[in-house]
Symmetry: C2
Subunit: 155 residues, 2 copies
């Protein structure tokens, strides 16, 4: 991202600025939720986030979490990653290396990779469609080595 000199601002600093710019307020509840979200590198859903916050003794309502999430997305701190079993799952996009996923259709094993050609594609898209590209998600689905072997044996 934009690290000119020195260290990058923390998620909390970025979000505080975002709120001030919007005429919104920086509350203890919001700080607690953000701290919990950024305390791990995992993706999360509202329910598990709510439970882990409660387990640490904080009394935050789910409504506050639901109301905070759109703001965090607007501030480019998190994004929706996938929807599963009736729930949306989110992950941080700030402060973590971007990567693409190579996923085995059979056993769901995931390899992570990066490829500079995706950035080239993005540049071409900006020219061709006039979009300002913010980010991408590339998921490649296939069969891993051992699942190929199993498939060959069973046929």
């Amino acid at each position: 991202m934009t690290a000119r000199k020195g260290k990058n601002p923390s998620e909390l600093e970025i979000f505080r600025d975002f709120l001030k710019h919007q005429g919104m307020r920086y509350t203890p509840e919001r700080e607690t939720i953000i701290r919990e979200i950024f305390s791990t590198h995992e993706h999360f859903d509202v329910d598990s986030l709510y439970l882990s916050i409660r387990q640490k003794g904080h009394r935050i309502s789910k409504a506050s979490i639901y109301r905070l999430i759109p703001l965090l997305i607007q501030a480019n701190l998190i994004e929706e990653v996938f929807f599963e079993k009736g729930q949306m799952h989110y992950e941080h996009i700030y402060g973590h290396e971007h990567h693409c996923h190579l996923r085995c259709k059979q056993c769901s094993k995931i390899e992570e990779f990066s490829d500079h050609r995706v950035a080239q594609i993005e540049q071409d898209l900006e020219k061709r469609f006039g979009y300002k590209v913010l980010r991408h998600r590339l998921d490649v689905i296939g069969l891993c080595k051992s699942c190929q072997k199993k498939a060959a044996e069973s046929s």
Copy 2:
């Protein structure tokens, strides 16, 4: 589109075989739904699919659509593409040219594109990780021209 009486679209043949193999039944309701899904190249969601089926005079319940979709996914005919405004959106992955999506974060407008470099990336992944690649999904998120303009005006 009108019903094609003489020709059997291959989606239907594939799905009929799939059902037989699972001990399930090929019903007129299922055929009607599949014909409607494959009559266009668009993405669809359950509600709009339901409406277009009803508008053509067929009396199919939403429940039947909801119950059919997991089967079509299992048969590799369609897949989930994205979740938006509370609804899942699907698209065919069989019998139609593959394409990637360039989506506006603000207004959700979608441009479709293809790029041969994705196929090159896939080939490299097969070599590097030993996977057999089946397909991919590349979603690029950005701001379309008019949403960039709006953002500039309001700041």
